[in-house]
């Protein structure tokens, strides 16, 4: 059924995705290697991001999926180094277009934020400052990074407003956030994120606060902008439908680790990890008349007391004795598909597959 969803995309996207599968050939925009972001609380160390490696090729939409608290937002905020205390990056590397970000000075990070890496947040209502006009707030993103006058910044903002489909862009420039609808506010946020033509745009659940029709519009807008510019997108979501809609490649995270990674069609057609299967099964299917929606048993583990062995083993239907003993690595299953599960250890391939 996911294949149906994905097939709804315009035909020309398919070629892009296929080139995404070949992946390795494309220029890497972002390479995160073994990133560790831990929170040092009074109760102990919380390994919110625990050795995550992610690569985003140029001009691609990469999705990070997972339940709340799996570390997806912390991964994103680590890129910008906007981790609030008591959290900090304790290891790993983040290369943006060949430039190492971990260990950069506060000053240097400031120049990167909003210019080379920008963010769209979940709540467009609360993410805009209520006492300033939206035009002023977007202009600020330009003037802080570029030496342009007020008038020129204004022109650029209005151009950008038009590009993201804000009607009456000139008039909207002097609107306050509360005067705009949720969809328009999110378009403003996108305009703010795109106005400096960043190399990477992080979208942290950009459509969660919006209704479904607006969600589709916003996703298509992001896709279109990504195609027109050289911006790569990192899309954080818990919504598999959103992933199917616009992502090229998907990382599934659980309790601070990547559990499965694959090109989007490969992931939906040949789902391997029991956790990913659980996520996909939790989506209501219009073709089936089921009384109860499927859910993954148990709860996300407390990161202070992680289970021994595989982090998912206590909730896993396929758990074997060794799953509770040692932690699996990411096993390569070909077609750019990797799974952190003993079922797919070399020589056992396809254990739980169908």
């Amino acid at each position: 059924m996911m294949t149906n969803l994905a097939a709804n995309r315009a035909a020309d996207r398919i070629t892009d995705i296929e080139s995404g599968i070949q992946g390795a050939a494309a220029q890497e925009m972002l390479v995160i290697k073994d990133l560790k972001t831990h929170f040092f609380t009074q109760k102990g160390v919380v390994p919110a991001v625990d050795g995550v490696s992610i690569r985003i090729p140029e001009k691609q939409v990469m999705g990070i999926v997972g339940e709340s608290g799996c570390g997806k937002s912390v991964t994103a905020m680590s890129i910008l180094q906007l981790i609030s205390r008591p959290g900090r990056i304790v290891g790993g590397s983040i290369m943006l277009d060949g430039e190492e970000l971990v260990g950069k000075s506060v000053r240097a990070m400031r120049d990167i934020r909003g210019d080379k890496v920008s963010v769209i947040f979940q709540e467009p209502m609360t993410s805009l400052n209520p006492v300033y006009t939206v035009g002023r707030q977007v202009s600020e993103a330009i003037t802080v990074h570029r030496h342009v006058g007020k008038q020129e910044a204004r022109q650029q903002v209005i151009e950008m407003f038009k590009a993201v489909g804000i009607p009456e862009a000139e008039r909207r420039f002097s609107s306050f956030p509360h005067q705009l609808s949720g969809g328009l506010r999110q378009r403003v946020m996108i305009a703010m994120a795109m106005v400096c033509q960043p190399k990477l745009m992080i979208a942290d659940e950009p459509t969660t606060a919006l209704d479904v029709t607006i969600e589709a519009q916003i996703l298509h807008l992001m896709r279109r902008l990504e195609e027109k510019s050289n911006t790569s997108i990192m899309l954080i979501t818990h919504n598999m439908g959103v992933v199917a809609e616009i992502c090229d490649f998907v990382y599934v995270m659980y309790a601070g680790k990547v559990m499965e990674q694959a090109p989007v069609f490969e992931l939906f057609d040949h789902t391997k990890h029991p956790y990913t299967k659980g996520l996909l099964n939790s989506i209501p299917k219009p073709t089936e008349e089921k009384q109860r929606l499927y859910n993954i048993k148990g709860m996300v583990p407390n990161l202070l007391r992680l289970p021994k062995g595989c982090r998912f083993s206590p909730r896993c239907e396929y758990a074997m004795p060794e799953c509770r003993e040692s932690e699996p690595e990411l096993y390569d299953c070909g077609k750019n598909h990797k799974v952190r599960c003993f079922l797919y250890q070399k020589g056992q391939g396809g254990g739980a597959d169908e």
Binding site: L82, R113, S127, V131, F176
Partner: protein
Amino acid sequence: MAKYIIKRILVAFPVLVAVSLILFIMLNVVPGDPVTVMMREHIKPELIEVFKERMGLNEPIFVQFGKYVLNALRGDFGMSYKLKRDVSALILEAFPHTIKLAIYAALVAWFIGIPAGIFSAVKQNTLVDRAFMSFSLMGVSLPVFWAGLLMQYLFAFKLGWLPVTGYYSPKYYVLPAIVLGWQSAGTIARLTRSNLLEVMKNDYIRTARAKGLGEAVVVVSHALKNAMLPVVTMMAMQVAGLLGGAVMTESIFGIPGLGRITVDAMGTRDMPLLQGSVLFITAIIIIGNMVADLLYAFLDPRIRVE
């Protein structure tokens, strides 16, 4: 905007009438009439009656009140029993002293309170924060008459830096302004700090940081304007309160302002003067509240009337 202001002024009139009615009743309920208080015990009882009759004090209280309101509407607030002068003239004489003290005190309060609040919030839970907050707590909780006397003792009597009482040059206003301003500064600093800390948790602060703005710009431009909304409102009302006369401070430092004449009028049962000054203070508070509301609307686009 103009419509709103006119509406607020019209609403103010019933409030003023109600305040003077309550005051009228209260003054008639408390023991001691002005004639007895003025003449002391050596006077013959018949004479007291004559004076009372002449001053219209024997008429029913509502008739007295009606006459007072009618005269007041014509701009005549009567004569002070004790000072034998027009009440309006006395008030207008006292008011400049109060204005001066209020301005000095407000300046002290703003220039100390706001920066102290910002520093405390930015350096939350550090030594600076604790020091500022203890100092504010002292300002809020120390009674003015006590803090005032201590300061007089230390700075005027012991050190001789400043005059003890009087109102002859700006120097005389330093101590009263600090005593009075310290109190307001404490409230402002605490409110600024807590609001700023609250505002800094908002998503739009994260957005501002994600835009690449420096921390100083984030605090001053994005957080402060939001955090100051309630503070500005409170400041406007504080100023109104200060303009209404600081009874304690004026008495301790011998400044013949509104607060002083009001207290004196109370002591001598000088009803016209007391009525007049209380009405005047009420009017100032009403105007202060109105200014606070207008300021809020000016600062916060969400409640601005379209």
